[in-house]
Amino acid sequence: MLDEAEQQNVDGLIQEGETVIVYVGYQQSFAITVQRNATFQHRYGMLRHNDLINKPYGTKFNCTKGYVYVLRFNPEMWTKTLPHHTQILYTKDISMIVFQLDLRIGSIVAEAGVGSGSLSHSILRAVAPKGMLYAYDVDTCRLDSVRMDFDRHGFSNMTKVQHSDVCVDGFGLEHCVDALFLDLPTPWLAISSAKKAMKNGLPCRFGSFSPCIEQVQQTCSALHKYGFVDIVTMDLCHRLLRVEETVLDKPVSKESSELDERSESELIVTTDKQGMKVQKRKWTYLVPKQRQQPMHTGYLTFATKMK
């Protein structure tokens, strides 16, 4: 009991060296690493790192022109705040990938290419603390950056970051991963090595992300050739919505004083400048948050190796 309460207490406070999310406003968040004596500038003023240490997460910090919240790091907020070295996957695709790959605590996963590490953090959350992530990329600078991110976020002992072109050199693994995910320009060239990397005698899951349908065709053909089953391809599209309110006029007859009974609670009765009766009704409804939103990111292909 004491241990549990103590653990909760420690886990709830901001500590030096941790990565936290500074929430400045909607879709204006920043990931910072807490360091003693450092400061963070934002549009409402300055945030001193010393003020954060040993405060609970979720606290409001007042600044000269407003306030900010400091939130606990999680992969969804990291996806929104991380520095982009590549195009990244967003939560709508990431959530489907983690779900379709059947990831759980202890799963061993291989991912190529790692890119900016957006998907990697969601994978690590799902498999921690007993799982493992083998991360591959062809770009050394990207790998170094991602390795530093893993170190900062406490995942260094669960990740193995490797510089390799898996389409040419393969994964260098044999019979040890539960799931494997590819975000590559030519994923069909890596499927032979992917199959070799998967555990023997157990069903293992495969996933691939490709923007173009021709890539998907070649990938599915290769999956079929190497004996994968349950090959499924899908694409996802999310709409971000917002709640709107409006007031609409209703027609009024001069003779009748009858009100629309159904909407009496939302009805507004006023008079205009000429003294005529006016009826209005309030409506609440959903509209897209922006008229233009992403309609395509890529196709997701999933398959199972049975034995």
Binding site: I105, I231, L236, H238, K307
Partner: protein, 391 residues
């Protein structure tokens, strides 16, 4: 791990799946094939079985599995194709004209087919006989031939996949069988809800659901016996747990699962004075769970319920979530989603509120026949997500 009597398995044949609890003497009907499940007892999961003429199942050999995979048996497209529609109508128009003139293109009679089946011919042999007996087959285009063979093979194939239930398969099986039981929560909505709930090792999650226990089962699966899943439910008995039963979690995981009637949680907070003996008995039964609820400090709140909680979410549920915890709400009623949004926004206890809906489409990927599936599922669902803060 082996299948025993009482185990749950998922059968998959063609594009149809079924969740079943194994019992002796049980007969299953799946895509017009009947088979008995007795022979499964003692077998491992995740294998391909052949349905023998006596309706028992026999485990396939490696060569049979390899041969099966070479056929197009598993070009699963997620949703059945509409066989009535004709692809490539321009190419086929001349052939169709000729074909239409024949009243009957199949020389194999129904009786002959029936006797073939009862004599124990394999599915592949039956398909071959039908192809040989078809007058129109040779005149079909290559693509039409493939489609013909695929349809016959699907009908006469004697194979069934036997799989161990997991959250992904349960979500898909329940959704395709009766979406209303999951509140029309399509797998992509479900995946998004779980992602935003930020479930991990040692997560403490507060759940309110009407989805056959699928959400609670997924929470237990992802936290793996090291956290807490406390489900608030309507009435005295929790109705919503078949998926948890299907997952057959060991006791090390089930120890993290608690159920608490909503009325108990609410009454305790309001501090009503007098209680009847029956009420006292109810409270005694739930005392430990109530203590856990009052202790609060949950990492996330998941709501996937048609229970209208807009009046209590701020006063009862949000205080139980620790600051910087997450809220993820699924609703298949638009007005309810709007009201949750309004209530949470007004409370000033949440930030990064987002309301989304989702569109999911499956694709058929075959050489020269790549296209979106012609039929799919539209879901009326909405997901609202946010992060709890101190105010």
């Amino acid at each position: 791990m082996e299948i025993v009597e009482g185990s749950y398995v998922i059968f998959k044949r063609g594009n149809t799946s079924r969740l079943t609890r194994i019992a002796r003497g049980q007969q299953i009907v799946l895509e017009k094939s009947k088979f008995l499940t007795d022979n499964l007892i003692g077998q491992p999961y995740n294998q391909l079985f052949e349905i023998l003429p006596n309706k028992h199942l026999q485990c396939c050999t490696e060569t049979e599995l390899a041969q099966f995979l070479k056929s197009e048996g598993f070009d699963a497209n997620g949703v059945d194709q509409c066989d009535e529609l004709t692809d490539y109508s321009d190419q086929l128009s001349q052939s169709d004209t000729i074909v239409a003139e024949q009243q009957c293109n199949q020389t194999v009679s129904f009786d002959e087919l029936k006797s073939l089946k009862s004599s124990g011919a394999s599915g592949d042999d039956i398909v071959q006989v039908l192809i040989d007996g078809s007058l129109s087959y040779k005149r079909k285009t290559d693509l039409a031939k493939r489609k013909y063979v695929q349809r016959k093979r699907r009908k006469h194939s004697a194979y069934v996949l036997v799989m161990k239930p997991c959250i992904r398969l349960l979500a898909e099986v329940y959704y395709h069988k009766n979406p209303a039981k999951l509140m029309d929560m399509r797998p992509d909505y479900f995946a998004y809800l779980l992602s935003y709930a930020n479930i991990q090792h040692r997560s403490r999650v507060l759940v309110v659901e009407d989805c056959c226990g699928l959400v609670s089962a997924a929470v237990l699966d992802r936290s793996d016996g090291n956290g807490l899943c406390l489900q608030l439910h309507r009435g005295d008995q929790c109705q919503s747990i078949p998926c948890i039963e299907a997952m057959q979690y060991p006791s090390s995981i089930m120890q993290c699962y608690r159920k608490l009637p909503m009325c108990v949680a609410m009454d305790e907070l309001s501090g009503n004075g007098e209680k009847s003996d029956l009420e006292n008995a109810t409270y005694s039964k739930h005392a430990e769970t109530l203590r856990l609820f009052k202790q609060g400090n949950f990492d996330s709140l998941i709501i996937a319920s048609n229970y209208d909680l807009t009046s209590v979410i701020v006063s009862l549920l949000l205080p139980a979530i620790r600051p910087s915890g997450t809220v993820a709400i699924y609703s298949d009623v638009m007005q309810l989603a709007v009201e949750y949004f309004d209530v949470l926004r007004t409370s000033q206890q949440t930030v990064e509120l987002e309301l989304i809906d989702s569109f999911l489409r499956y694709h058929q990927i075959l050489p020269n026949r790549t296209r979106p599936n012609m039929a799919g599922y539209f879901s009326p669902g909405y997901i609202l997500t946010g992060i709890v803060v101190c105010n």
